[in-house]
Amino acid sequence: MTISSVSQMTPTQVVNETNKLKTTPYEAQQSFANSLKEAISKVNDQQITSDNLTQKLINGGDVELHEVMIASQKASITLNATIEVRNKVIEAYQEIMRMSV
């Protein structure tokens, strides 16, 4: 591996790199909203799975009892995790709002 000399890195190249890294506040907001939406939809998927399995069991379908129980526990854990994340986010927001200007 040959090490390139420092003179090859021109100042214009360095400036172009930093321009690419800058994201607008709108983009940052969108990515946060999207990741939040994804997390909530995953929680919803778990709840829906648990609901469907319980329905199948009630209707006498071909589903194992322990699968229903495990699905409901997984949904409960995912929900609790999301609630904790929400608590932390709100706590951080309130911390920032408490800062005197």
Partner: protein, 153 residues
């Protein structure tokens, strides 16, 4: 490797033990069945069934990540599955002397199923204990995850 990997492994074990329990129920129920199925026009008595377990293979993505050197936890197992429900052809049928039975052969002997109730009861206890142990593991797994959510509360 998700946080639910341990729970999925235990779920597969519970399913396998449940299936084993169903096979034991079938064996106990068919203990006196002299006419189970027709073979060459002759009625054959019920044959005892056995299950064989094998370790479940991981998904392809796990092997791929392990080959790339990414996943440190690729050595953890993936659970168990039932490969086959085999009929026990090695144990011979029990011969019981009963000339009045409709299925008695020329010498007055009846072929009874090769199901030993003692063996089935031991299998039943083993399957039950295994099921309970797996449920305990599942509960411990869940309580660990719940405890982890209490960090920083």
């Amino acid at each position: 490797m998700s946080i639910f990997h341990g729970m999925n492994t235990t779920a597969s074990a519970l399913t396998a033990q449940r299936l084993r329990m169903d096979v034991i129920s079938s064996n106990m129920a068919g203990m006196d069945t002299t006419r189970a199925k027709q073979v060459n026009g002759q009625w054959e008595p019920y044959r005892r069934k056995t299950v064989t377990f094998t370790a479940q293979e991981g998904q392809f993505s796990k092997f791929f990540n392990a080959a790339l050197g990414k996943n440190a936890k690729s050595g953890v197992g993936n659970g168990v599955k039932v490969t086959q429900i085999k009929e026990d052809t090695e144990t011979p049928f029990k011969l019981v002397y009963d000339p009045t039975h409709p299925d008695a052969n020329a010498d007055g002997y009846v072929n009874m199923p090769n199901v030993d109730p003692l063996k089935e009861m031991v299998d039943l206890m083993s399957a039950t204990r295994s099921y309970e142990a797996n449920v305990t593991v599942l509960n411990a797994n869940k309580s660990m995850l719940t405890k982890a959510l209490e960090i920083g509360r």
